[in-house]
Each structure stands twice: as C-alpha cells, then as structure tokens.
C-alpha cells in the first residue's frame, strides 16, 4: 500500500489483510511530516500518542477485530478543534499552550473508530482568512509549490530564489489540513468551513474538500467563528474517502442543539454511469468579476462534459449573490465580536501581566492575544451590534441572508439537482503577491464563490479538476440540496472519474513511498 492510496479502495483492505500495519503507516506519515516540515502544515505533531494509537489498532487487527474502516488510519485535525491532552491554539497567542480537557465530538468519533491522530494543522488565526497566512506560527506553503508540475511551468528567477520566494499559498483558512492531505502525510483531515475555508484550500491544493449541510455534523468542540454558519469540513484525496469520513462523523449530537434529530445512515457511493436524469444548474452570477479566463474555460468545459454525457445543463439565476459578501461580513463580524468576548485571560489562555484592574487586564490580554485581523473584526462586529445600528445592519443582513437562501430554494425546486460553479477566482497566488493586500480585502475577494453556501447552510464540495497553465491545481464546486449529500457526492464522484486529476509529483513523497511495498494506483488517480 502506498501513502497515495485511496482509503476505501486500497488502504482499508491492505490493513485488513495485513499487507501493511497501522504502525508502519503511522511511522511513514510521521517521517514524511518531518521531511515536509518546510510546508509548515502542522502546528503540533502528536508523535507519542499517535504511535500508541497505532499500536492499539494493530492489536485489534491481529485479533481480527478492527473497529471499522477507519481503524489505524492516520488523520490530521485543524487546530481549532478541541483535542484532549493535545495543545489547541487556533494559531493565536491567546491560546498558545492551551491544553483542552475534552475532545470535540468529531475528534472523539474518529478516535472511537480507531483513527490515529497525527497532529493539529495550521490555519489563519481563529480561522479568519483565506490564505492560511495570518496565524502566529507563520504561513502554510502549498505543497504544489514544490511539485514537478509547478516547477516545470514556472520561470525560475534564480536557483536560490526558486524554492524560497515563488512558493504559493494554500488558500484558507484550513490550509494546513489541505496541505497535509495534499502532501500525503495523512489520509484525511478535518477542516472547518464558514465562508469557504475548507473548499478554498482544497481547490488550491488539489484535494477534495467537502462542506456538509449545516446541522449534519456536530460543532461541539469546534472553536466557533460564526456559529450560524460554521461546519466541520472534510479533506481527502478522493470523493469515496470523503463519503467514508462523512459516514463516521454525521448524526445528531445531544451536546450540539443545532444538529438535526433525524438519524443519519452512512452510505457507499454508487458508480454512476447514467447521468441523463440529472439537471445541472449553472448560476450566471458566479461569473464573478476577477474570475480568471482559465477557470471560466474549465467551468465551461465541465458543463459540456455533463451535457455530452446526456445530462441536462441549464443556466440559472441566484440574483442576490452580489449582496452576499457584504451581508456575510456584517453577520460574521457580529458573531465574532460575541464569540471572542470570552477570551479575557481569566479562566484559560493568555493573561496579561497588567495588575491595575480587571478591566485593564482584560484590555491588555485581548490586545496582546489577538492579531489585527481578529481585533478588526471584533471592532466592526461591536459597531454593527450597537443599539442604534442593530436594525440597520444586523437585522438587514439577516433579511438579505434569507433572500440568498431562498434563491437556492427556488432554483432547486425548479428541477435542478446540483449546481456547478468555480471554487476560486484563480489558481493559488504566490505568497509575496498575496500579502500585498490585507486580510479583509483578500477574504472579500476569495470568499465570493463559496460563502453563499454557508449562508444557505447547503452542502458543497470542491473536486480537483485540472492543472492551470502554471501547473497548479484548479477545482470546481458542486452545491447540493440540504441533506442530499449522497446525491452530491455521487455526482462529484462521477465527475472526478471523468477528469482524472493528476497525482502531485513530490520528491519527498516519492522517496518515502519507494519502500517495501509496490506502488499501487488507486482507481481514482491516473
């Protein structure tokens, strides 16, 4: 079995048959993490506990009693999920050194099924950002920066400059998780998605990024950004694997009152052959300003792909799309201002040395603990929540949110099954170029194609589609109806099979993979 293998198709079988052991898998991932340290994808590597978990998994396999398909599988978790005994920082000074006493529900579920938790991945501070560049542990580097595909296409300025300065961002805010999956250091990773934070880096890193329906997966233990929009996100290398993860995580959690009560049945994805009964919607408003001609062409090509295979492809309209960014910013900052109020240094986290008064301690703690981005959003949010502004901004934004959600309802009830849109405006920008604009500007630009799905609570998935002219991944997005993940993933899987997105060619990975075991090709990669 290779690190590149699909979970369901290869690795699970290999583990069961004993062709590879959980300890071996774990060790190889840990070694690869070490040799790809320059990516800065991980904040904490939990080597000891991971190896212990792997050992326990191995015992179970020896007894012929594995807990399920995830038993022994190395996974990574974004550092805004609580993990008992392992530092949870949210890439912020406020929580540096914070060791949570409890596991997030999704983390607990993975551990209960025998998954091996390799470590916590890097992100934008408190998940605010679209580049994974604004955390206190530094930016995450897109593994594709070091791929043969990118290097071949990029014009080297000089030999030394090449590796250091032309590296491209992962996108964000779940950049660490996307990079971890993309560079084969784990088989799947958890991210979070509030305005596109799982799908955006998935697109830039060439991996599958699933945003489930709001209310399907528990948020208990996910440190919130916007409670009414956040969902745990799933990052994998193929759509089948995303379905496996979804099956192990979805379902009502009594600890999260926003999860639906209906019982969830995990599913296996059928191999769709006949798409003639499908109606694909192409929302015209997603031809957004700034959309690269490359992606526009790819989007069009994808639409033709469906058409030629017999599906019905129609142009649709989501007229309130242009208002969604502004609406999102009002609601997001308002919730942020509220959610961040608990960080005062009193019970946990960073506490300033100021001893004059409680108030001055609070103020100093928050100034020292939060970066500019967080503080900026708190100030904006408080402004919108002031009594004199509440109706004008917050309530208005709630109303616009309803209109945006209704746009989708109308389209889906008119016979459209799935929407097909771009995920990002362009391929990944070089870091130096990206940081020319501030976080707020970048977020406003980059969220435009993804955050309407968060406003409406709909499931959406990024499927890696092709490489750009610069040799970097470009993905396309599918948006489905609430709680229709099975249909969404089935279509995504079909599309994935058609496009045959190339495997990243990373020196480091190849070095690690040329070992005892044969390099096997999975069904999903060419």
């Amino acid at each position: 079995a290779a690190l590149k293998d699909g979970l369901r198709s290869q690795v699970a079988a290999a583990l069961k048959e004993g062709r590879v052991t959980p300890t071996e898998l774990c060790q190889r991932c840990l070694a690869l993490i070490k040799s790809t340290k320059f990516l800065n994808a991980y904040i904490t590597v939990a080597e000891e506990t991971a190896l212990k978990q792997a050992e326990e998994s191995e015992e179970r396999y020896k007894r012929g009693q594995p807990l399920g398909i995830l038993d022994g599988i190395p996974i990574a978790v974004k550092d805004n999920f609580n993990t008992a005994g392992i530092e949870t920082t949210c890439a912020s000074n406020m929580l540096k050194g914070y060791i949570s006493p409890y596991n997030a529900t999704v983390v607990q579920k993975l551990l209960d099924q025998g998954a091996v938790l390799l470590g916590k991945t890097n992100l934008d501070e408190f998940a605010m950002g679209s580049g994974s560049t604004d955390g206190v542990f530094g930016p995450v580097r897109n593994p594709w920066s070091y791929s043969r595909q990118y290097k071949e296409k990029s014009v080297p300025k000089s030999h030394s400059e090449d590796k250091e300065f032309n590296w491209v961002i992962t996108g964000g805010s779940s950049g660490g998780s996307a990079a971890a999956v993309s560079s084969f250091t784990c088989f799947a990773a958890l991210g979070s998605d509030t305005g596109g934070s799982t799908r955006n880096p998935a697109a830039h890193c060439g991996v599958v990024g699933l945003k489930p329906t709001y209310g399907l997966i528990s948020r208990h233990g996910l440190i919130p950004l916007v409670n009414s929009m956040d969902v745990p996100g799933i990052l994998t290398r193929c759509v089948d694997d995303a379905a496996v993860l979804l099956g192990s995580l979805a379902g009502h959690d009594p600890k999260d009152s926003t999860t639906v009560q209906d019982s969830f049945k995990p599913f296996e994805l059928p191999d769709l052959t006949d798409v003639s009964k499908l109606t694909i919607g192409i929302p015209k408003e997603y031809r957004a300003p700034g959309l690269s001609s490359e992606i526009l062409a790819l989007w069009s090509k994808a639409a033709d792909l469906f058409k030629n295979a017999g599906a019905k492809v129609v142009e649709v309209s989501l007229p309130h799309t242009p208002y969604s960014i502004v609406c999102y910013h009002v609601l997001c900052t308002a919730e942020v201002a509220s959610n961040m109020a608990r960080f005062d240094g009193l019970e946990y986290g960073h506490r300033s040395d100021t001893k004059e008064s409680t108030e001055s301690m609070y103020a100093a703690t928050r100034r020292e603990g939060f970066n500019d981005v967080v503080r900026g959003r708190i100030l904006s949010g408080n402004y919108f929540l002031l009594k004199q502004n509440y109706e004008k901004y917050f309530v208005k934004a709630q109303k616009v949110r309803r209109l945006i959600a209704d746009d989708f309802v109308k389209v889906f009830s008119s016979g459209v099954n799935i929407l097909l849109t771009p995920t990002t405006l362009s391929d990944a920008a070089p870091y130096l170029e990206f940081i020319q604009e501030d976080n707020r500007t970048r977020s406003a630009q980059d969220d435009i194609l993804t955050q309407a799905a968060n406003m409406a609570g709909l499931p959406a998935i990024n499927v890696p589609t092709a490489l750009s002219e610069r040799g970097l991944p470009v993905g396309l997005q599918f948006i489905g109806c609430s709680f229709q993940e099975k249909q969404l993933l089935t279509v995504a899987k079909w599309f994935e099979k058609q496009v045959q997105f190339p495997v990243i060619q990373l020196e480091e990975v190849e070095r690690h993979d040329n070992g005892v075991f044969q390099h096997q090709k999975s069904a999903s990669f060419s």
Partner: protein, 465 residues
C-alpha cells in the same frame, strides 16, 4: 408637605433561582454554599467550543410559574445574548430572553391589611409584564487588602426566572406584600425555593414620583435589598428622598442606587461608566423554544422530547389564594386568619392536623393557633417545624378544654408548661398541678363555704348591700 400631593410609582424586577438539579444550559449541579468552583462544567467556565443545551426542568418551572401568574405562555420564545465584561461572567455575555420571553401579560393578586389589627384586608393586583429564562452569573469578591478579586463560578449558569412587575404599586408595603405572595406561589409550585437569604430571590425596585395628572417622573433603580422587610423600607425611603429632592427644587437622576440596610437609606452605586449598550444578538446555538398544548401537539411525538403546556396546567397544585379560600370555606375561619396561616411555613398544616384530632370547633382552634402557639413561636424565634408542642399535644389539650375538664385559664397554664418541652402530656400536667375542673356540686359548695368562713371580715362588708 403634609398634603403629600405626590403619586409614588413602584415597579419590581425579581430574579428567582429555579429549583433544579442542574443548571440552565449545562449539566453541573445546583447547590448552595458548595466549595468554591466545585460545581463548574466546561460550558460554565466558557471553555472555547462548548455549547449550551437547554434544561427541560427549567422550562417546566417557567411554564408553571407563568400559568400560576395568569400569563400567556409563548409557544415560541427565543434566546439572546446580552454582552458586557465582568469577572463573574465568563463568556462575556449572558444568555437571556430579550426579544420574545417565555411568558407575558399576567397578573398577581395580593392582600394588604388596612389597619394594624389585621381585621380588614384589601386585595390588590399587579400586572406581570413578562417572565424570561436567563443565566445567573458567578460571584466575585473584592479583596481590597490584597488588591485582588476572587471569582467563584458555582452560581454561573444556574437558571433564573426574571419576573417583571409593572409599576402598579405605590409604596413599600404593597411591594412587600406582592413579593411575599410571589414567594409563596413559587414555593407552592416548587419552581423556586425563593429564600431571599440564600440569594434564591432577588428584588430590584424601580421607583419614581410625579404630580397627579402629570407624566411619570424619572425613575431610579434600587438594588441590594436582602429581605422583604428591607424592601418595604428601601422603597419608602426612596419615595421620600425623591419627594424631598423635588420639593427642594432638585432633579432626580436616572441612576442605580444601593440600599444600605444599616443606615436605612439608598446611596448611589459606583458609576458603571455611563449607560451600557448590551449589544443584544440572537443566541445562534439555541433554536427557538417551541412549546405545545393539547391542540398543537403533533401525533407520534416522544413525550420526553416535548413540553405540553396543558399537561402542566392540569397538574398545578393549589395556589395560596385557592388554599386560603378552601380554608375559609372548610373551617369557617376569617380570611385574615387564612392569610396568617399560609404566611407561616407549616402553620396551615399544623392547624388542619389539630382540627382533625380534636372535637373543638375550628373557629375556636384558630384562636389557639394564631394567638397562643404563634406568639410563642415568635417569642422564641422558632419555626413551626421546631415547635416543642406538636399538633398531637395541642389537640389533647384542646380536647380537655372542650370536655370541660379544665378551664380556659388552666389550659393556658398547661400550654406554658408544655412549651418547656419536657415530654409530659397535658393530662399529666393537669394532674400534677391539680388544674382539674371540679364537677361535683357538693364538693364545690364545701369549698365555697370554706372560703367564706375563712374571710369573715370581707363577708360582713359585702352582705348588707
């Protein structure tokens, strides 16, 4: 001014701690005087990533209370966040119900004595604006000597019902009577133990005065009132203060004042930096609270998952006002008597117990309960439960009286002896002290003759006339 042309206006905001095993949104225990920070869950400490889960019992308590106060129960109510920074508020916000509370538009009837002899009572009503569910805060103690603040989060997150009474009251006595009645109702329902000394019932008074026919004056909020007695004092003091201020040409500030029980006056509280903007926002982690009644209850619902208002209504116990009516009807006692009976914890039960065990008519028994037993209890600051004279003993004594085996005076002497709690029965005491009434006429004649014989002088003085 002896004419007192001012119209005082008093409204109340009452916070009643819900009597429940666990807190409003988390599973930690509710207990008075536990070691500091021993009843704090991750959610109570506001650990990041924790979420509120609504406690069913707290909702039931609020519904019961709303029904007992004749409110409309909102079948859909909402939760909000109220933001401010304080050491005893770990999340930086309180979860409350600002937009749509659980119950609205109710009323509370209470009675007052017209005079001090308790011989005439008048019934008044105060409108209940609303009842809302909200979290209690923790406690902070300021240690000035060491320049530190000590924070105990045991109370943080305990469920509260805030009961808002409209400004329909006019003085301290009315406010006190209204609160007393509310206290009795809550205790009868069991929705709150409502003991002010343990912080389970907290009252803030809103006081203003105006001239008749003119709009309401500026109001002040009076806090830090620790007993019903102090409530009456604080309100009356504040009314007087405002009248004096205005009559001297001054103005009333819209401020918060604290009642100083030692000095018997209200003082301005530390300025909280002007008006607070609480930046209310809907609580996104709690869906709207939906309640059902028999009509709206969907078929095939799990009884555990829903609250049926009608079901709760059917099971409400008799409220104090109903209990009083029943006592008056059943036993023929006066309304004032029933008030006193219910005002003292356990006294009504004691009375009924005695009535059951004795042949003496309830109308006569009540006198012994209210005049004799109660005054002993008051004298020694005892509760009914602590009474050394049980209902059995008192009933025995009253039976002796009823059978004319002793006189009324003798009975009072026996009661005084019983009060010592030495374990003697009334009969034993009567025998000991030779208090039996003599029924034999011949014996009586002999005694009388002996008395007359022994008092020759006085007899001679009396006979001629």
């Amino acid at each position: 001014s002896s004419l007192a042309p001012w119209v005082p206006v008093v409204g109340l905001e009452i916070h009643a701690q819900i009597s429940s095993n666990s807190k409003l949104f988390s599973g930690s225990q509710v207990q008075f005087a536990a070691p500091p920070n021993s009843l704090v869950s991750f959610f109570d400490a506001s650990l990041p990533g924790t979420l509120p889960v609504l406690n069913r019992r707290c909702v039931e308590a609020a519904v019961m209370t709303g029904l007992a106060l004749n409110c409309s129960i909102n079948k859909k109510s909402l939760f909000d966040r109220k933001h401010y920074f304080y050491a005893d508020l770990p999340a930086g916000y309180q979860i409350t119900q600002q937009r749509v509370p659980i119950a609205v538009n109710g009323s509370l009837s209470y009675s007052l004595c017209i005079d001090s002899k308790m011989s005439q009572m008048v019934t008044k009503t105060v409108r209940i604006k609303q009842i809302q569910l909200e979290q209690d805060s923790g406690k902070s103690l300021h240690d000035d000597t060491r320049s530190q603040t000590l924070v105990d989060l045991n109370r943080a997150g305990v469920g509260l019902m805030e009961v808002v009474m409209e400004p329909d009251m006019c003085c301290g006595e009315e406010a006190a009577a209204a609160v007393r009645e509310l206290q009795l109702i809550l205790q009868t329902l069991g929705s709150s133990q409502a003991v002010m000394a343990e912080g389970q019932l907290r009252v803030d008074a809103n006081v203003s005065v105006h001239r008749p026919g003119e709009p309401y004056g500026v109001r002040t909020e009076v806090k830090n009132i620790n007993s019903i007695r102090f409530l009456a004092k604080a309100v009356d003091y504040e009314i007087q203060r405002q009248i004096e201020e205005l009559e001297n040409g001054g103005t009333i500030l819209n401020e918060t004042r604290a009642f100083d029980s030692k000095l018997g006056c209200t003082v301005p509280m530390r300025d909280k930096e002007g008006k607070q903007d609480y930046r209310f926002m809907p609580e996104p982690n709690l869906p709207p609270l939906i309640l059902y009644d028999a009509k709206s209850l969907p078929a095939n619902t799990n009884h555990q998952q829903v609250i049926n208002i009608d079901w709760i209504h059917e099971r409400l116990p008799d409220l104090p006002s109903v209990k009083r009516e029943k006592l008056v009807e059943r036993y023929g006692i006066l309304p004032e008597h029933s008030f006193t009976l219910l005002n003292e914890d356990g006294l009504a039960e004691f009375f009924e117990s005695v009535v059951k065990k004795t042949q003496m008519k309830p109308k006569k028994v009540i006198g012994w309960i209210l005049n004799d037993l109660l005054s002993y209890l008051k004298q020694y600051s005892l509760t009914v439960k602590e009474s050394p004279v049980s209902s059995f003993l008192l009933a025995d004594l009253l039976n002796l009286l009823e059978k004319k085996e002793i006189s009324s005076t003798a009975a009072k002497r026996v009661l005084a002896e019983l009060w010592k709690g030495e374990g003697k029965t009334p009969l034993e005491i009567v025998k000991e002290q030779k208090l039996e009434l003599l029924q034999d006429e011949k014996e009586l004649e002999q005694i009388c003759q002996a008395v007359i014989d022994g008092q020759e002088k006085e007899v001679i003085m009396m006979v001629p006339g």
